[in-house]
Structures are given as structure tokens and as C-alpha cells.
Symmetry: C2
Subunit: 216 residues, 2 copies
């Protein structure tokens, strides 16, 4: 069976994986970028966004792992955009411009149907209105013998964790205090859900921890 994987998921010392008040100006919420400030300097990120060479240290090596063997993505609604409620029109095409960094089918969880959106570079956004299990089934089918990557956001990762559907979670713990935001683990008993930390790597700007679900 192929895997559902989460990669490069940032978390502050006080347990937040996003700031408060996501908006067009603050896609990661207020102060959210501090959580991802290990990723922005990497070669993976810089090349993705045409921002020069970037660094090639351990943080970059950890980020690279997240793109290996991925055949489809799942994204929560907020990860696709700041719009809430029904789509006002079809103008919003994600945070990433004409060529999003996925290059494979990406399944967006939403309560509001919308036709598939074909973007440059191989990404097609499919809008899934019948829940997380359906999105996973569709993404698995699209990915074939490759794995599915769950991009986020926090609420979506928590939903999949609660159902025990995530096989691997790569967490990047950042040495920052956010003060407020969306908590990743609060109220989730990760041990009872079958998860354990199996490896850790000290990056330049984060501690990378690899969490797996024990096989039943």
C-alpha cells in the first residue's frame, strides 16, 4: 500500500503550526512565517520560487525528501486560498501563480464544488466535497504506485491524524515562540493514535523529527 505523508511541517516551541488570522497578506497567519523560516533559505524553496540558489545543508536535504516519490497532493481549503464559503467566481487559482509547485494532481478539500483547474507545469487542482476519506481515495488512485503528500493546513492534518490515516509525518520544530496560533497536537493523544517518533536530525534552523504510525 502506498503511503500518506506529511513533510516539512513547521511547528513552534509552543506548539503552533500556523499563526492566527490567515489572510491574503498573511497566508501562514500572523507571525506564521517564523515557523517556516528554516525552509525559506533552502535550495528547494529558492529554486521553486525563482529566488536564487539557496542553501544546501541539512535543512535542504530534509526538505528534498518531501518531493521524492510523490504522485498526488491533498490540500485543505485554507492551504489553497483565503476565500471562505462559496467560490464567488473562478478567478482564485491558489497562492502560487500560473505554475504551482506541485506538478501532479492536487486534491483540495472544500464544501463547495468547482470544476477541475488545469495549471501550467502539470498541476491540476481537483475540488473534493465529500470528505477526507474520499480525497485520500482519489489521490491514491491518481498517484498510482507513488505516495500521496498531505500539504496542510493544520486543521486538515489534525483531521487525518485523528483518523490514523497519516503514515509518516516529518515535523520541523523551530526554536521560536509564536504566542498564539493553530496548535498542531493540542487535544490529540498521539500515542493513543499509534504514532511514535522514530528519528531526528538537527538542521541548521530546525530540529527535524520523523513520526510514523505503528503498523496495526
Amino acid at each position: 500500500m502506498t503511503k500518506l505523508r506529511v513533510h516539512s511541517f513547521g511547528m513552534s516551541l509552543d506548539g503552533y503550526s500556523a499563526g492566527t488570522d490567515q489572510s491574503l497578506e498573511n497566508p501562514l497567519g500572523v507571525r506564521g512565517p517564523e515557523i517556516m523560516d528554516w525552509f525559506f533559505p533552502t535550495r528547494v524553496f529558492c529554486q521553486m520560487h525563482g529566488a536564487g540558489d539557496g542553501e544546501t545543508g541539512r535543512d535542504n536535504a530534509m526538505a528534498e525528501r518531501g518531493f521524492e516519490g510523490i504522485g498526488a497532493w491533498i490540500l485543505g481549503r485554507n492551504m489553497f486560498g483565503p476565500i471562505r464559503g462559496p467560490w464567488p467566481d473562478e478567478n482564485w487559482k491558489g497562492w502560487w501563480g500560473e505554475e504551482p509547485p506541485y506538478h501532479v494532481p492536487a486534491f483540495v478539500l472544500t464544501h463547495y464544488p468547482r470544476p477541475p483547474l488545469v495549471m501550467a507545469g502539470g498541476t491540476t487542482f481537483h475540488f473534493v466535497t465529500d470528505g477526507i476519506q474520499s480525497a485520500l481515495a482519489q489521490a491514491r488512485a491518481a498517484a498510482g504506485d507513488r505516495d500521496v503528500r498531505l500539504g496542510g493546513g493544520v486543521a486538515t492534518v489534525r483531521e487525518y491524524l485523528r483518523e490514523g490515516l497519516i503514515d509518516e509525518l516529518h515535523l520541523a520544530v523551530r526554536p521560536v515562540l509564536l504566542g498564539a496560533g493553530e496548535s498542531l497536537f493540542q487535544g490529540l493523544d498521539m500515542r493513543a493514535l499509534g504514532y511514535e517518533a522514530v528519528d531526528h536530525v538537527a538542521g541548521e534552523r530546525a530540529m527535524h523529527v520523523f513520526i510514523r504510525r505503528k503498523q496495526d
Copy 2:
């Protein structure tokens, strides 16, 4: 002004600094030792407990810092023992045997008075019944020009944080999931309280983060 410092305070990925159900058998709560399993192999810990030489890497260097320039300790009641309510007698003398590892005056927060307890090796336990501010004032007076170290436990550290009384907090983030326990930061807005992470060091078994309170 001398400082109030917390050192070598362990925290799991899911934010717990102690397990549930502290008892005589589980001084750190159920699975609590996993949080401190970076400290146990160090030379600092091993020599303290007559358990051989111990390791001398980065984790040990971080642990050593916690004993430099300390003139008094403050301990929460649970850190002194598992007894709740009034002292049944004076037989309980702490978790550590005849010679506790403090070697300076140690002020124990409790609601129940008890005469000072002089132990071997320089530690005297003083029992403080009039609150955290009083304990700090007494510890500062005893420490002279040296700093005061707050040992714990979690509830006590949270009380002092909430009042902005801790100047430095050395957190050791362990790559483990506890699932349940006493959360260190939940419900505390550390940014609003004036704290920021100023440095981090990758140890062998934990990420060490140094948190300071900005000067008003």
C-alpha cells in the same frame, strides 16, 4: 539584579514536561522519563547519582550550564515529593536521599508549614507557605550575588512565567511523543508575556533552546 533561571527543562514534541499520575514509583509521571532521557546519560547526571562517568557531549555541556552561578533553588511541592496535603510526619526528606544534589538553600513551595530540613552536602530545605513572590525574595536573599534556579515542576514554572518572573528558561525539546501529561505552554501566550527564543543548540538527544524575557 540577579536572575531567576530555569535549566534543563525537558519537553516532548507534543508539549508535555511531565507525564500523568506522578507517584513514588513515577516521580516524573507516567512516561515522564522519556522527556529527560537526554539528561540521564550525561556526566552531570551520572556523577550526581554515582552512576559512572557519563557522556561529555553537547547535552552534557548544556546540563552543566544549569549549575553555574546558582546560589539557591526554588522547588514546587511535587518536585520535593509525592505527598499531597498536610505533612503526615517529617520522615519524607525529598526524592534524593541523604545528600541532595543542590548543595545550597532550596525553598520548597507548600501550603503546609514545616521546620527547615538540613541535609548532608550543604542543602537545606526551607518550606515557604506564603507564595511564589515570597519564595523568590527569600531565595534571592539566600543566593546573594548568585542567581536562583527554579527546578520545577511544570505547574510551578507556569506560575512564575505567568508573572513574568523567570529571566531565562533553557528548554530541552525531546523528539518523543508523550500523548498525555502536563503541558508547559498551553494557555500561556509567551510572546505577550515578553519572552523570546534567543539561541538554540542541537544536542545528541534534544534540541536545547534558550528563552529570555525582554527587559522592560
